[in-house]
């Protein structure tokens, strides 16, 4: 074979390659987009305040749509003609004396039919020998649909970050949750929290993370809704309604799903930063989904400087309370510990009235920190005002020390071990989500209950307005981080296990 033919094949293959790239996406997508057009055309997409410009733009859109259709029709006819031509060509080449048609490349390789077949076979073999290359998922983008495509059924709740209602997709009849973003008071345009929520949800596709279907908009610029899968319950409401706490096997099923979802988020460099029972949704098939990504954000390595005003107070880790501006995924693990405790007792574990009270409640449970259990905590901004027992002997063996068994009488040793690790004061002592999943607690009897065996509950969200929770809300963005004075942390009654109360604690005022 001459060099000339070699280059020729490469050139045609380049041509084929580009076409091959385009065609597979072409066919399934077209009906979808035109369907979308039909839905869109009746609404103004820019929702200009001025009705006149709106009308003009709508008119332009209609004209554009017509032009587009005309062009598409022309294109279709052209393609049809081309296809017909190709068919004719194919017939010509198959004819034994096909001199009438233009000579094809294949015919140039050889003249008689048998060797031509052989050449075809050779090319086929060549193609088969090509390595299978990884193909990336083919995403697309398109404009938002209008919220009028959904019929609102009932209000579910007003969260810290937006209003949620149950709604029905009019075209498909599917029931979804519709969350309206709060966009007022945003001098900097579209709030970065909302953008991060959408961005992280779009990328966090996992069976234990709530599924964001699309973002739709209303008539005004600041009407933006997230359309998500609907779930009957949130864990907080469930715990409130239950007479008895979950069984140990059920707690494991719930916890494994939360940590499983979190492990995925952390692997995608996403911190949730507001894990709590009211942000964990459940359906009647025993499936749990992490929701409300209003506080979530990407982090990096090394960690960027971040705000400490994250995580609802009761679930906030000690390093955040002490003012750390460099923190990592350990803050989510602390929240998991709080959720674990709440699952055991049905009550939130650490219900502080304010930041100072929260710190004292934490230390009452875990014992005060010392330089062995938490090296370096002294250098945190808010630790300056903290005065701890000078002769604080190691309260119990092990690092991190075990939590008092009396608080969790029904928990196995492995369970108490895991809880103590999650609620370790020192962030570095807490397990990662992956380590947590591999903990012996989940492998010992009773085993996690299969999801399909999980009890079902009457839905609160399905029918009536959900009761507002008594959990405090996540901190608002843009607030100043308070400079806290923790001098009063040990001012009240000291924790039960601190034997030498009074003697070791000194208060520094001012």
């Amino acid at each position: 074979m001459s060099v000339g033919t070699g280059t020729k094949t490469v050139r045609t293959r380049i041509g084929e390659g580009t076409r091959h790239l385009l065609i597979p996406r072409h066919s399934p997508i077209l009906p979808l987009t035109s369907d979308l057009h039909a839905k869109m055309s009746s609404k103004s997409r820019w929702a200009d305040e001025d009705p006149e410009t709106e009308a003009i733009i709508a008119q332009q859109k209609r004209e554009k749509e017509q032009k587009r259709r005309a062009k598409a029709e022309k294109q279709r006819q052209l393609e049809e003609a081309k296809a017909q031509q190709a068919r004719q060509d194919a017939n010509n080449t198959q004819a034994p004396n096909g001199d009438s048609g233009p000579p094809t490349k294949r015919r140039r390789l050889s003249n008689d039919a048998t060797s031509s077949d052989a050449a075809v076979a050779k090319i086929d073999a060549e193609e088969k020998a090509q390595p299978s290359l990884l193909r990336f998922p083919m995403g697309e983008w398109g404009p938002c649909r209008h919220v009028d495509n959904f019929e609102r059924l009932n209000h579910i709740e007003e969260g810290s970050y937006g209003w949620v209602s149950r709604a029905k997709d009019i075209s498909t009849g599917e029931v979804v949750a519709l969350k309206k973003l709060k966009l007022e008071n945003s001098p900097d345009g579209f709030p970065v929290t909302g953008l991060r929520e959408i961005q992280t949800l779009m990328e966090a596709r996992h069976q234990n993370v709530v599924y964001l279907r699309e973002v739709v908009m209303g008539n005004k610029m600041d009407d933006v809704y997230l359309v998500m899968d609907f779930h009957e319950h949130d864990l907080k409401a469930l715990l409130d309604e239950m007479r008895e706490p979950f069984l140990p096997s059920e707690i494991k099923t719930v916890l494994l799903q939360v940590v499983g979802g979190l492990e995925f988020l952390h692997s995608q460099w996403i911190m949730h930063r507001d894990l709590k029972t009211s942000n964990l949704l459940m359906n009647n098939r025993g499936e749990l989904k992490i929701a409300d990504f209003g506080m979530a954000r990407y982090y990096g390595d090394p960690p960027p400087k971040l705000t400490q005003l994250v995580v609802t107070l009761w679930y906030r880790s000690p390093e955040l309370l002490l003012g750390a501006d460099k923190y990592g995924t350990e803050i989510d693990m602390w929240s998991i510990g709080c959720i674990f405790g709440e699952l055991l007792t049905k009550e939130p574990l650490l219900q502080g009235k304010n930041e100072v009270d929260q710190v004292s409640k934490i230390f009452a449970l875990t014992g005060p920190p010392n330089s062995q259990t938490w090296p370096g905590f002294r250098s945190l901004p808010n630790a300056k005002s903290l005065r701890l027992p000078s002769s604080s002997a190691p309260t119990s063996a092990g690092n991190p020390p075990l939590l008092p068994r009396s608080q969790f009488p029904y928990l196995t040793n492995a369970g108490l071990g895991l809880l103590s690790e999650l609620l370790a004061l020192n962030p570095a002592s807490r397990p990662t989500a992956r380590q947590c999943l591999e903990h012996p607690y989940f492998r010992e009897d009773p085993r996690p209950k299969p999801r399909e065996m999980f009890p079902t509950f009457p839905s609160k969200a399905g029918m009536e307005k959900r009761r507002r929770h008594h959990t405090p809300e996540a901190p608002k963005r843009g607030q100043e981080a308070p400079e806290l004075d923790f001098a009063g942390v040990f001012g009240g009654a000291p924790g039960g296990d601190a034997g030498e109360a009074g003697a070791g604690f000194t208060l520094r005022l001012g």
Partner: protein, 295 residues
């Protein structure tokens, strides 16, 4: 799952063949010139704002996506300069280096001033004889308030047009990883690779919205290694990175043609500035109509 991190949403054939501007009658070569100038404007503004190149590149991709498809923005409705500014502001907001509307608008005022702009497609004539008066390149307080409203409104328009999908994966870091995998750590080669990747952001073939980042990275490495005379391994190494010969060939041709394209643009527009707002687009279309009628 994790692949999403490394891949992008790509334009559909329909979006590529029917831009909103073309349906509004804007000639495709004019659209290409304006889009390319807008991308250069974004790049320059990003540099003046001290944003890192990954933020700038993401902004240019968002900017490019905005104009595609019948549902995209039309050059006869939305000013290129405002879409450029809003794309940059939006991308910076989501990054580790957010910037303020005021900084963005100050920079754009300077870059769009006919007297002071360092950009060839904005500035007219040579250097002015007398120092230009500050009013021509400094944003007044009143001007700032008005421009801020526009900036934030266009930001919303971009978000809606793209269905709030702001994810952009870039080939730059992928290319560096590939270079290390290929065992080539020559700084000049890496630099040339990044130059090709950054130039491709301005490509008239819209390479960043038609090809995945791994393919862009491989093509830039292929081309740069040829130019720098660096010999890479003796095999179809691009297949290791999931790029086939066809796609590689297309991208290499596209990247290689960038220099010629930019030279052609420079001589095409010569002394004239490229339209940056709808009125100027209309005027340019009118001018072309009259030229056609005259001949």
């Amino acid at each position: 799952m994790a692949l999403k991190h490394l891949s992008n949403a790509l334009a559909t054939p329909d979006q590529l063949s029917n831009s909103s501007s073309s349906l509004d009658g804007v000639p495709s070569d004019l659209e290409t010139s304006i889009r390319c100038a807008g991308a250069q404007l974004t790049q320059s503004a990003g540099v003046l704002l001290h944003l890192s190149q990954d933020i700038i590149a993401q902004a240019i991709v968002i900017f490019t996506r905005f104009w595609l498809g019948a549902d995209g923005g039309s050059l006869r409705i939305y000013p290129v300069k405002d879409v450029s500014a809003a794309a940059l502001y939006l991308t910076a907001k989501l990054s580790f280096q957010p910037t303020s509307p005021r900084s963005v608008l100050n920079v754009y005022t300077f870059l769009l001033s006919k007297d002071t702009s360092p950009l060839w497609f904005v500035r007219q004539g040579g250097s002015p004889q007398t120092p230009p008066s500050p009013e021509t390149y400094i944003l007044s307080e009143g001007g700032y308030q008005a421009a801020r409203q526009v900036l934030l409104k266009i930001e919303s328009v971009i978000l809606r047009t793209l269905g709030f999908d702001t994810h952009v994966a870039l080939p730059h870091t992928i290319a560096l990883t590939y270079l290390q995998t290929l065992g080539s750590s020559k700084p000049a080669l890496a630099q040339r690779v990044l130059q090709h990747l950054n130039a491709a952001l301005l490509s008239p073939q819209l390479l960043y919205v038609t090809h995945q980042p791994n393919a862009l990275a491989v093509a830039a490495i292929y081309l740069a290694s040829r130019e720098e005379g660096v010999k890479l391994v003796d095999s179809d190494w691009w297949e290791v990175f999931d790029v086939d010969r066809e796609e590689l060939g297309f991208l290499v041709v596209g990247m290689k043609s960038m220099e010629g394209f930019m030279r052609a643009e420079l001589s095409l527009w010569n002394d004239r500035s490229i339209p940056m707002v709808p009125d100027q687009v209309d005027a340019e279309m009118e001018r072309r109509r009259m030229m056609e009628d005259g001949e």
